[in-house]
């Protein structure tokens, strides 16, 4: 047995991801494991709760993306109670959800994952953060990032009750209509968000695409996996975050299957490993073949790049243009370069902003008809949304009083877990040679999973872009021979 490298958040809490790299006797990487050391049991203590409380209970899985869980839960209640919300309720939900997508994607690009590119993957660690981004693109831009997020989060609060842990979702609708005054503010916020999205795309072009070194990094084999892709699409196979059918494409881009969320159990399954609390999703249609990519392996990806791959385009003009530019620049679809996820995230940001503007202009949006009272006996319900970090499925069964008897949740990061594990292993093998690893090199390993924006907030409370790391190199007897701290 050779040396081990353990990359562990310095805080060493149960809630944080951990990378364990084993070296062989020649100092080459034998295998790298990404472990998720956390489990909270929401599905178990959901039993006995009132179904209508689930959107508020499950939002506490994650305070970074509470709207995703709240909305998945609310849609599950529609299905559970066999009730269709009035058109205005559906449109308001989608408009609010789009506002959430914009502010969350902005958070990731400017605060978490983006600094690696905007400031540079090997820049001094003290600059590789949002302040470094502001230093590079200007203070006014920094203010606009904070300003846009503040405005959108204020709009979400006013429509949904609270931005952190929304309350407005009910089976058959929402708790309150949107006033004309609030509609006007949504329209203004959306217009600002569209401009902001265009600007963010330009930043990406100027900083990343014009730099040969970055483009080489994005397209390098170390960050490439040929897997299946899953995402929600509308009736024209365009990306949608709030509703639609789930579409899977194979590593060559051909459609494998398209199915409604109600059939998720026929297509998505979870594999258990003894060394991580997080389960690994795979496609039932293909099967679990271990941690490997290719057409014979059921490993798939979700989140921005996967959504673009699984679709046939975007629903709005500016985003469609950006989507075409992305596809043609990177050699056509499907795009297998994990780091291109950052670019795809910005395409989605502008798409969500444009969609938000369309909905704010919809004559239905201020209709007072936002509730339909359920009249049927609740039985079983399944709901899906695209969380910023990928497909999120809630599934509840109840007794006739609407008390939960079973709940099952497939969260975005679980869907991505196997491919993230592949990415970390591959990046480590390509980049780490021997125990003498430096901080910049470790950051490049970390970038392999940061691109997914993995919501370890959902499982671990950590915002990965800011995660301090510690590396320990031990000899086969377990003695510490080298320690490297990135903090």
């Amino acid at each position: 047995m050779g040396s081990e490298i353990l990359i562990d958040p310095i805080t060493r809490l149960e809630g944080h991801g951990r990378i364990h790299i084993f070296l062989d006797d020649d100092g080459e990487v034998d295998r790298a494991y990404l472990q998720i050391p956390e489990l909270r049991g929401f599905e178990t203590f959901a039993r006995g709760r009132r179904a209508e409380d689930m959107p508020q209970i499950t939002s506490r899985i994650c305070g970074v993306c509470p709207m995703a869980h709240h909305m998945a839960g609310t849609k599950t209640l529609d299905d559970l109670y066999h009730v269709d919300p009035p058109p205005a309720a559906t449109k308001v939900r989608e408009m609010v959800y789009d506002a959430f997508m914009v502010e969350d994607h902005a958070l990731h690009f400017f605060f978490l994952g983006g600094p690696d590119f905007v400031v540079g993957p090997s820049a001094p660690k003290a600059e590789r953060n949002v302040l470094g981004v502001i230093g590079k693109v200007g203070l006014e831009v920094g203010k606009e990032v904070i300003g846009v997020r503040k405005e959108l989060r204020g709009l979400i609060s006013d429509a949904a009750g609270k931005v952190i842990h929304p309350v407005f979702g009910l089976p058959g609708g929402i708790s309150q209509p949107v006033s004309p005054e609030l509609r006007d503010r949504f329209a203004a916020g959306a217009a600002r968000a569209v401009e902001f999205g265009k600007f963010a795309l330009q930043v990406f072009r100027d900083v990343v695409l014009s730099n040969r070194e970055y483009v080489d990094l994005v397209t390098s084999e170390a960050y490439t996996h040929r897997t299946y892709y899953l995402g929600l699409v509308d009736e024209r196979n365009r990306v949608n975050y709030y509703d639609g059918r789930l579409r899977v494409v194979d590593p060559d881009g051909a459609e494998l299957v398209t199915f409604p969320a109600r059939e998720y159990l026929d297509h998505v399954a979870e594999h258990v490993e003894p060394w991580s609390y997080l389960k690994f999703c795979y496609l039932r249609d293909v099967g679990w073949k271990g941690f490997t990519d290719g057409v014979d392996s059921g490993v798939f990806a979700v989140a921005p790049l996967a959504r673009l791959n699984a679709s046939e385009g975007m629903s709005t003009p500016v985003a469609q243009e950006a989507y075409e530019e992305l596809c043609s620049t990177l050699g056509g679809k499907p795009v297998h370069y994990t780091l291109a996820t950052h670019w795809a995230r910005l395409v989605e940001l502008v798409n969500a902003a444009e969609r938000m503007a369309e909905l704010a202009a919809d004559p239905d949006i201020t209709s007072p008809e936002v509730r339909r009272i359920p009249t049927e006996t609740p039985t079983e319900g399944i709901g899906v949304v695209e969380a910023p970090r990928g497909t999120l499925i809630h599934h509840y069964a109840t007794d006739e009083r609407g008390l939960i008897t079973q709940a099952n949740l497939i969260v975005a990061t679980q869907n991505n877990a196997a491919r993230i594990a592949l990415s970390v292993d591959k990046a480590a093998k390509a980049l780490v040679h021997g125990a003498e690893v430096d901080e910049a090199l470790l950051n490049r390993v970390e970038m392999a999973f940061r691109a997914y924006d993995p919501c370890f907030g959902c499982a671990t409370h950590a915002l990965p872009g800011q995660m301090p790391l510690i590396v320990e190199v031990r000899d086969p007897s377990g003695t510490l021979v080298r320690e490297l701290r990135r903090d």
């Binding site: 310095i10 809490l13 149960e14 599905e43 509470p66």
Partner: protein
């Protein structure tokens, strides 16, 4: 004058408390101006050894969010306690246990059983479960152990102040930091929020009848609530009368009942018991049968009244489950092979 040093830390939480601090937006800069943030893992790259290197009591204050479920969390809470003049339990989870505290209704075993075997999407393997130690071909991997029970911060260390809410309202965070900087902190043990019930700041307060009586409780999905009338007067279980104010009543403003995330006022020992009695006292009928009918409508008393406070309650946790509950499994759900 040197700026007071403060720390922000998370235990078993969702990250919402951290987002609430970020939602101070440009005011974050004012906070950074007034205090020296010595430790804040989510945003700044200081490490545990930096905290260990501080003199005991050198931190003016530590703001700790989240409940306690692992030995590591307990150790961090103890470390910050030792280094801090003041420890603030930040948010509902640290103060009362919060929604993750509902896990005290199930056993660790039933959680593992469902997640790794009973769940309908989990593939039928050979009963593999995560292990605290696993030997893989390349070496040995370890996972941490979980406590059976979720605890509040003050069940683990001495706590000086409490900031309520899920998450704490931005205004309360701002005034708590200001009070700390200006040395205007109240008596130890205080909750840093107004000490009156939510009804005082509810926009519907004027419509709350003085002799409020409810003949039939209704659930939120069963009624389209009038947007201006007291929700209790409409038969909805709104916990405003039992809950501390300071949040600005955003839930009732959004036409949804208060669920009690701000916790009790200072005169209450057990929040859930107080909330239950506040609601029960509104029951209009006086004959036993009618009272029974009205109360039967309160279908999930623990989840309704103790939603944020089970670990802090006199009930604390459920120690036994009936056979059906302890199995976790997928009864009634078809499994795909």
């Amino acid at each position: 004058m040197t700026k007071p040093k403060v720390a922000f830390y998370w235990c078993a939480s969702c990250g919402g408390c951290e987002e609430a601090v970020v939602d101070l937006a440009e005011d974050v800069l004012a906070v950074v101006d007034a205090v020296d943030i010595a430790f804040w893992p989510v945003a700044l790259d200081f490490k545990v050894s930096d905290v260990e290197a501080l003199a005991d009591g050198e931190l003016a204050a530590s703001f700790v969010n989240g409940a306690i479920r692992t030995s590591e969390q307990r150790e961090m809470a103890e470390l910050l306690r030792r280094k801090s003049a003041v420890v603030v339990a930040f948010g509902a989870c640290a103060w009362l246990g919060g929604i993750p505290g509902l896990a005290n209704l199930s056993s660790r075993e039933s959680i593992l059983e469902f997640v790794y075997r009973g769940s309908p999407s989990t593939s039928d393997g050979d009963g593999v479960r995560p292990q605290e130690e696993t030997d893989v071909p390349e070496g040995r991997l370890r996972l941490p152990h979980f406590d059976e029970t979720v605890r509040t911060l003050d069940q683990v260390v001495d706590v000086d102040y409490y900031l309520p809410g899920c998450p704490p309202p931005v205004d309360l965070i701002r005034s708590a930091v200001t009070a700390l900087v200006e040395g205007r902190l109240p008596e130890k043990g205080s909750v840093l929020a107004p000490d009156v019930a939510l009804c005082a700041e509810c926009p519907r307060a004027q419509t709350k009848p003085t002799d409020l009586k409810v003949t039939q409780f209704r659930r939120p999905h069963e009624v389209i609530a009038d947007p201006e009338t007291c929700l209790l007067a409409q038969g909805l279980v709104c916990l405003g009368p039992a809950t501390r104010s300071g949040c600005g009543a955003p839930c009732t403003a959004a036409n949804m009942p208060c669920t009690g995330c701000m916790g009790p006022t200072s005169r209450v020992i057990d929040y859930g018991a107080k909330a239950l009695s506040a609601i029960a006292s509104l029951v209009a009928p006086s004959d036993e049968e009618a009272v029974g009918e009205a109360v039967d409508r309160l279908v999930d008393p623990v989840g309704t009244f103790y939603r944020y406070s089970l670990p802090a309650s006199l009930l604390h946790r459920r120690v036994e489950r009936d056979a059906a509950g302890s199995r976790g499994g997928g009864q009634g759900w078809a499994r795909r092979s």
